[in-house]
Assembly symmetry: C2
Homo-oligomer: 343 residues x 2
Amino acid sequence: MTSSARIAVDAMGGDEGLAVMLAGVARARRRYDGMRFVLVGDEDAIREGLKSHPNLTAASEIVHAPEVVTADDKPSQAIRRAKTTSMGIAIDLVKRGEAAAAVSSGNTGALMAMAKLSLRTMPGIDRPALAARMPTLGANDVVMLDLGANTEVDSRNLIQFAVMGAAYARTVLDLKAPRVALLNIGTEELKGTDIIREAAQKLRAATHLPLEFTGFVEGNALSRGNVDVVVCDGFAGNIALKTVEGTARFVADLLRRAFSSSIRSKIGFLISRPATELLRHHLDPNNHNGAVFLGLNGIVVKSHGSANEIGVETAIGVAAKMVRDDLTRRIAEDLGNFEAQAA
Amino acid sequence: MTSSARIAVDAMGGDEGLAVMLAGVARARRRYDGMRFVLVGDEDAIREGLKSHPNLTAASEIVHAPEVVTADDKPSQAIRRAKTTSMGIAIDLVKRGEAAAAVSSGNTGALMAMAKLSLRTMPGIDRPALAARMPTLGANDVVMLDLGANTEVDSRNLIQFAVMGAAYARTVLDLKAPRVALLNIGTEELKGTDIIREAAQKLRAATHLPLEFTGFVEGNALSRGNVDVVVCDGFAGNIALKTVEGTARFVADLLRRAFSSSIRSKIGFLISRPATELLRHHLDPNNHNGAVFLGLNGIVVKSHGSANEIGVETAIGVAAKMVRDDLTRRIAEDLGNFEAQAA
């Protein structure tokens, strides 16, 4: 990325507070050389917090925001305070070209509503989509979208999600031609709704895009690592993503119970701890953090509300890669190519 | 159950073959006293197989079927051979009142299509639904429906699924008033589609049913054990069920990799083996086997294609409980009560 690229950080959002946000930004500062930050929030508190991070101070500016969007705020309430909240001001910096991307750990619904209203949808995109990464058994994470921005979609929306998701996977997963599949309840061509089958037919015909359409993928194959981008409506995507989270936690809880069920199993657990730590590392959401709103005229990254400093660093890394690869332009080009062939 | 109740078993369906089916039936015979069976399939092969199970021979009759529905048969193909296949004949025995229930480990789509065509939908039910159980951290399994019979539904369908699922949970989970929730992408009243919100509103008002409607449940809470019945359309349900299966296997695979990553972790694994065996037992699909088609004029239980003899025994146990509690009549009564209050 160029030395002038700046990332606006909503320093106040998230459940973990300002200190964790700043610690995460400081980590990102060390990792991504030349990156600069605009820290948005309570000026005095940020200035005080920066005392622990001299390396960050030199690479940052502070923009004061008198208010904070809370977890309980409805999107409609948050929008009315766009000009005074740290979240709203961070997005506005992107809109005015003063930052290349915005990162927030705050209220997802509010962030989505504000980003959409302020940045507007890209030409050629009917609906923006929320995308995130999940761990797999394969060499890289899988990207899934939409995760809840659109509970109902048509086949055109799904195709646009596929194009956007592939562009995103090329950037964050460093893949040349990501394997893209539609989430469905079977892999045979006749399975699913008319909308999904129509989208599949058109994606199969679009052979010139920098992606490989592989057909349908079922819920049990999401983590297998044989697909890079999973495309679905926001209802199914939200259910699938949360079911993955819930089931991983469920199995981990059962394991914890099992390991503490006897002295013998406790001893076995202590001995094999390095192994279970590896597992924990692989499943830790902080290592996959950073959901993005694709399809807007600007880059907005949602960090998980409970992300720790490593999670915040990961989310900022996602924003940095998107800025470096000029993702918004890349999506526009791919869409243009798709429309040109389809016409 | 009365001594005259008989369960028709498609002895040929499933990936594991006749020997596993018969071994499973023999286990069920030992557990459920007085139960009788009609074994449907190749007569010579069944007679030969029964030689290993003298206890079962006395409690069984054989009905010959010259053909078998294969895993690759399309539902439309299977239907044309309903009179000659072991699956079709087993269902027909239920239709003619010669068996109280049918159990098959064969092709799900074919079983669903044949059962629907032969047994027809119950009065008051617009669409039958596929229900199954999943393990939780709580005291009992959770029942989920629909799992793929209906990719699109209206609010009336969802309400009928809730009533049927609750009746089923009262029977198989032995609960007085199961806690029922609608699967959604958030727990606030405004979340989800119009169809889901409308179903929620009506279920909230139906206070006289033997169930407790608890609102919405998200994908991450399916396994927590704070809800007994999860209601959704067949698309979301199929995605959620398969995502649970896939993620549980994913975590188990990661664990296996981790445990075999060093000598030290292998030793730890061996020591804590009783603990991991407990976990394996809890997650083993054979202990939760037996999906059912609710809403038909007769009981049909789908055993998993790869079920072992314990799985087959579990599925037959599900059929036995449904017969014992006269589930079809129970659903009809509950629906009548719901309609009476709603009118």
